[in-house]
Each structure stands twice: as C-alpha cells, then as structure tokens.
Symmetry: C2
Subunit: 264 residues, 2 copies
DNA sequence: ATTCAAGTTCACTCATTTAATCACAAAAAT
DNA sequence: ATTTTTGTGATTAAATGAGTGAACTTGAAT
C-alpha cells in the first residue's frame, strides 16, 4: 500500500525527531484531516482513544497541533510548512546551544604526542563528507581524489574542488571512462584519470567484498579511504595524518608505482 | 562552577538531539581533550569504564568520534565544526524526509464545517511566531498588531511587516511610548500607537497574572492573542477565524470602543 | 430529576530501553 | 611468571513508554 508506507515513514521520521510513537501517529493522523476528535483519531491511527489526549497535549506544547477546548475537544495539525519550520527552528536552536556550550569549554592543550603511525576510523557518509571537505580546505599543494561512484560526487564536493587555490594540483581519478569524462566536465581545472587500481572496484555485485568509496590524499601527507559495507550500505573510513604515517606511506607508494595513470 | 554548568548544558542538549546519556558525556569529555582512552574518559566523566566502548562505538557510527584501533584504543572527537555540521545535516535530512512523506499523503478534503465560533489554542514561541507570519501573509486589507515586549519584535517579524502589500493598512501598537518610537523607526510605513488597553500589561512583576504577549488582528476577521505564563515563561496563544467568530467579535468591539487610539 | 452514553482523566500493568555492576578473558607491563 | 590494564559479554536494576481499564465528568435523552 502506497500511502500506508508513507505514513509509516512519516511516523518513523517523527520519532527520530524526538516524538513518541503516540505523538507521531496522532500528528500524522491529524495531518490527513482538517480537524478531528479523539475518537476519530483513535480510529484512524492505532493509538488508544484514552491516550490521544496526552499525546495531543504534548504536540500542542511543541507547537505542532492546535486544540479547540470544546466538548468534544477538536484537534488539528498546524500546516505542513509551519510544522517543518517549527521543527527545523527547534533543532537549529539546539545545535546553536550546543555550539556555544562547547565553545565555552576550553580544551586541554596537552599536545597530542601523536600523529605518526596513527590510523583513525570513522563512519557515516555525511561525517565522512564533512571531513573530506575539511581536508580539502587544508590542501597546500596537491589533492588526489579517487571516487568509485558518481553519487559521491556531490554538488558540495564539486564546489569545494572548484574553489581550491590555484596553486593546488587537482588530480581526480574515476573508476571508469564514463565517470571520468563527467568529472572532467564539472571540474575543468582538474587533471582526471581512470584509476588503474583494480582493487578499487573489487566487490561489485558478484563478489560480496566491500567496495572502495573514496580515496583522498592531501599534500602526500594526509589520507582518507572509505569503503561501503555491502550488507548495510554504510560508509566507513580510515584516516591517517603525517608524512611518515604508515597508511600515508603506502598510499604514496601505490601512486609512485604508476598505479595511478594520468590520461591527460 | 562555570565550565561544569556548560558541560551539563552540552550533555543536556546532546541528549535532546537524540544521544544517550553515556554517549553525550563521552562526546563532551572527548571534546575537552585532543584524544583519550577509555580509562581517561571514564575518569573525566561519570561513565563506567566498561561502557565507554559501547558509547564511543555508537558515536563513531554517527560520525561524531574517530577511533584508533590500537591497544589501548584511543578516541577523539571530530572538530566542533564538523560535529555541528554533521548533526545539522542529519536533522535537515530528517525534516526533508518528513516533508516528502507527508506531501505524498493527500488530505481528506471533507470540508471542515467549522471556522465559526471556534477558538483554538496552541503553544510555543516559535510555533506562534510561525503562525503570526502565516497570518500576515494572508492579510488583504488590514493588520493590527500589538506587542507587549520589544523582544517579540524579531527581525523576521519586522521584515514580514515591511514586506506586506501596500494596500494593507498596518497598525502597530506598543505598550509604552519608548517601544512605540522604536517600532516607528524600524517599520516606517506602519501607523503606530500606544495601546490604551490597560489589561494588556497587567501582570508585571508584582501581580502574578499572565501578561499578554502579542495580539494580531487580520482583516478584522482573524485574531491571535498570546500570553506568557509567568511561572514557566512559556507562551500560549488562542486563535480564532471568521468574521462572526466570538473572539474576533470581541476584538473588533474593543477596537471600536476606542480602546486602541492611533496617535499619528 | 434520573439515567445513560459519550468524553475525559487517572492510575496501573507490562514490555522495552537504558543505566549501572560484575565476571572474565586477553593483552600489556612489571 | 605475576600483576595490572584493557576489552567483551552477561546480568541486574531503574526508568521510560506502550497498552489497558476503572472511575469520574458532562451533556443530552428519557
């Protein structure tokens, strides 16, 4: 059922946004009718009638629902645009509060006696994309980027690449010729090539091995390699810094062995 | 203690953003130090050492923390800007998903045999501000606005007011002369006045009565009145639509009795 | 006035989730 | 070799939320 799934999806997202199940269901229910009573709502959702009142009251206090104090009470959802706006404002406000709370806690500046030989792991596509961005901003002389999948070439990434300093060499590799030409189109100043690294696209369909997502090498001294785990589709990454870092050394070695072949 | 409170605040906000207590504490702990082990973390926060691992693993999967798989493992938080960016992206993505899920559910268009004599209540400053905005957009001929407190005159509200169609009369009332002149400054095209309604600012300090926050009357047929509950500081509002609506009638009556006196 | 039904609130149980503790194996350090 | 750290897993306890039913209002109908 089409709408049924969408309803479930909406309830789901609302719960992720912090609403309880009853609250989410009531809100979605109300968003389908101009207004409704507790009875009507409990019929169209599977919220027990006696609990509709609680749920709706919470929703009202959060600015998502209006209540008419008549008998029977009537409820109605605020407009979609008002609701999403309210939710977004709420979250933005929270992130802002977090930011200022953390800002006011100064960090212990024991130097991190580290960097060399450390390999860090992280996960999550957005986080990895953010890190990629941060790294690109730090580039002084060279950026080597290999992307396995066209979908990873987001607008934001393209913008960032095009915005890098002119003194920075931009080498962008793709796994296939078609992706390469596309990359060359959107990032004219880059030197593009088709990666000669076979292991980059092991794990396509047939094999169940994890495939490489992106590879970022900055100034030959910082590297990030991500992979997509086939079962969940999640993106994981490893990250190393420092010219002498083992991971970085390996990456340089691979390059100098001519595995990366520039085509133009 | 200054930072102690800020730490609590940060943990609190992170929980509101969906993290569990241990996760929130670990993240805040890590954000105070370049990198740390489970032991160190459990000492600086009050997360049991044996549970640091779980918490940090979740944080990693959410892109907020990096893990170095050595022995002992070392953890570090991503930079503040990356963290807030990741969180914000995550939330925006959710709100977007909600929007499209709800969009695809069309609403039952049984006419709402309503409007007249209905009074709805809602709560939450942002929601009320959003509704105010929506109402201002709908104005055809006249807007009467009375604000009790200068703080309610947000940038957004001012922009909205200045952006209303020229054919719409703009009457803005303030509770004091000083607020009035300020209003006149930022909204030149408005006709401003000092509200003669004493009950608007009953409940200042001494009395514990709830004070009126804002009063919005659109085209003499839609009204919204909000009040601030003194104990919690929350803003609540009542809202009525339709020329014949009781609340609207009362509002018109008050106006025509000369309670609102234009000064210029 | 009394009764009845619908509307509403409240209190309580059960299930799930999360916090907190413990026992133990593996790894490092002494 | 022995003793401390480090990491995993299981287990208990506390808190939260879902689900249910009794009881109390209210307004309409007898």
């Amino acid at each position: 059922m089409e709408t049924g799934d969408n309803i479930k999806e909406a309830v789901d997202v609302l719960q992720q946004l912090g609403l309880k199940e009853y609250e989410a269901q009531c809100f979605v229910g109300l968003s389908q009718v101009p207004s409704g009573t507790a009875k009507k709502l409990s019929e169209m959702t599977d919220v027990p009638r006696t609990r509709v009142y609680d749920a709706v009251r919470v929703l009202e206090s959060e600015g998502l629902v209006e209540i008419q104090h008549s008998s029977p009470q009537r409820f109605r959802a605020v407009s979609m645009s008002e609701a999403t706006e309210t939710l977004r404002n709420q979250y933005d406000a929270r992130v802002d509060r977090l930011q200022s709370a953390l800002d006011s806690i100064q960090m212990d500046t024991d130097d991190d006696e580290s960097s060399i030989q450390e390999v860090w792991s992280m996960a999550g596509s957005t986080a990895i994309e953010n890190r990629t961005n941060t790294l690109l901003s730090q580039a002084q002389s060279e950026v080597v980027l290999v992307i396995a999948d066209e979908s990873l070439l987001t607008e934001r990434l393209v913008a960032k690449l095009n915005g890098t300093d002119d003194g920075v060499d931009l080498l962008v590799g793709a796994v296939s010729e078609s992706v390469r030409t596309h990359v060359q189109d959107v990032i004219p100043r880059a030197t593009t090539f088709v990666s000669g690294l076979e292991w980059l696209h092991e794990g396509d369909a047939d094999t169940d091995e994890t495939a490489i997502g992106r590879l970022v090498l900055i100034d030959r001294s910082t590297i990030l390699v991500s992979s997509i785990v086939p079962s969940t589709g999640e993106e994981h990454a490893v990250f190393g810094e420092g010219f002498g870092n083992g991971l970085v050394v390996i990456a340089r070695r691979l390059m100098s062995q001519g595995q990366f072949t520039a085509d133009n």
